[in-house]
Amino acid sequence: MAELMYWEAIRRAHDEEMARDPLVICMGEDIGLVGGTYKATTGLYDKYGPERVIDTPIAEGGYTGLGVGASFLGVRPIIEIMSVNFAWLAMDQMFNSAAKVRYMSGGQLTSPVVFRSPGGCAHQLGAQHSARMEKVFMGIAGLRVVTPSNPRQAYGLLKSAVRCDDPVFINEHELMYNMKGEVPDAEYFHPLEGSEVTRPGKDITLFAYNISVHWCIQAAETLAKEGIDCEIIDLYSLAPLDRAGIAASVRKTHRAIIVEEAEAPVGVGSEVMAIINEECFFELDAAPVRVSARNVPIPYNRGLEKASLPNPNDVVQAVRKMLGK
């Protein structure tokens, strides 16, 4: 099993799918000649040419709509939106066209398109380049939302997303493109639904996704030294959320903390709490809590930025508090 960086895993998925199917194309700003801001499409322009590796104008609504329109005729575009913040400009086409077309056409048309974009906060990019928008996408009927926490998922989720007939939004992370991890040498398709047990444990469940999985791994290591055994559930699918997987873990540990990089209101945490209430409320030994970002536009100043985002120590504190330690 080879160790790849997150961006290399994404690039490999592109390459394999484009080699297999001439109707798989990719498009976005600077993805061709330049190879992509995060290198995820490096070398593809030379290999597949400008008709299939398309450098678009800086016009997110326009090129997203173009990709969606192409998908109506069976083309499978992988559309890179350079920063998830720019997806606001593309949402009309993502939501009103791609996500709704199957339903409003009575099943006649589908939009097998993949949107992928780096979300999350990097370092001092300021309010308009530090959005966590998964909460917006995951509330839209007809759109699948997945979010890889490691190179294996980044590779396998993109492979499955390209072949799936539904529109899929892949929420990547600005800080994770250079993260290394094992990726199977053989072709691998990651399920688009479900969740993964990153770390089994018996005392408390930490629900996490994307970068917050890594904060939880760090926190769990610290807490293990104190004799606290954390279970970490990786919610790589945000739409739909894995109701059965969430309930199964709460039935096992009876305590739940949701750790998210995003602001608390209307987010993954609130949704997971609702699912716990609906599926397994009486299994709880403590009220679930969220570890979330402060509800502010992300500031530029490094100190303020750090103060507005959660970190592994916040997770440790929340666990101790819940367990009365």
Binding site: P22, L23, I25, E51, R52, I54, T56, P57, A59, G61, G62, Y63, T64, G65, L66, G67, V68, G69, A70, S71, F72, L73, G74, V75, D92, Q93, N96, S97, V101, R102, Y103, M104, S105, G106, G107, Q108, L109, T110, A141, G142, R144, G156, S160, A161, R163, C164, D165, D166, Y188, F189, H190, P191, L192, E193
Partner: protein
Amino acid sequence: MTLDDKKRLLREMLFARRFEERCYEAYVERKIGGFLHLYPGQEACAHGVLEAARPGHDYVITGYRDHVHAIKCGSDPKAVMAELFGKETGCSKGRGGSMHIFDVEHRFMGGYALVGGPFPLAAGMAKAIKLKGGDEIAICFLGDAANNQGTFHEALNMASVWQLPVLYVTENNLYGIGTRVDRSTAVQEQYKRACGYNIPSDRVDGQDIDVVYEAAKKAVDHVRSGKGPYMLELMTYRYRGHSMSDSNAYRCKEEEKEWGKRDPVIILRDRLIDAAAITEEEYQVMDKAIIDEIENEIIPYCENSPEPDVAEVEKYVLADNDPWVAGGKQ
């Protein structure tokens, strides 16, 4: 076009007129709900352009004033009307409604209700055609007011840069909902706006189907021959309000009267009568046969059609049993 073609087109346009008028009545009778945008006055636009193209072969997309475009592409008028009635037999199975007519079999790729939304979708269909190597073209019909959306500019720019086989048709009926074009738009001659994207364009009378057809033929030939996109502006007028909820108070009676004299159905009828291709009596017989067909076949079909099963309200949100959701067959 031969005289026989023109007689057929007269029937098609008159059918479209009567169909839409019957929609109006059904709306008043509350058989049709929601928003309803009617086409009377603009019939020569859809019919003239699509007559010059290959309906059912070329990919057509439009906004919410979409019934007539679908029928001209080959959709069964019964399925279109049944959609307005919200029935399971509707072309979109009662899930779409008036603004979302779809008939993929006839390559009518839908009516969309965000003004300007179809511009990039049409460019995308053209991109797909190019990738697949077909001889189809994409045709996008929208109103003048859609051209003030960013999507117009973004899509025309990309269509030109990548020389995509797409024809943009602006049906300029002078009003964006209730705002007249001179109150909303800096450059009122819409076809001039294509110059900014190096796209050839033309502006012609949209009430005379012969004129529309000739201009559209040139436009379609241009696009189909691989010379890239084209924009055609058709000057027209809608005889009713923007939608059924529109009081139409923003237009003066003189203007309506003037445009009423240039009724596209009457222009073609009179021309055919002058050419002795049809008599006034034959026209009346044709009209009565159309009204009878609508009244005795289409409306009863819609009324007798089943409602969608409420147990299926969640059907069509996502693909059924897509194997890749579970990671394929590994």
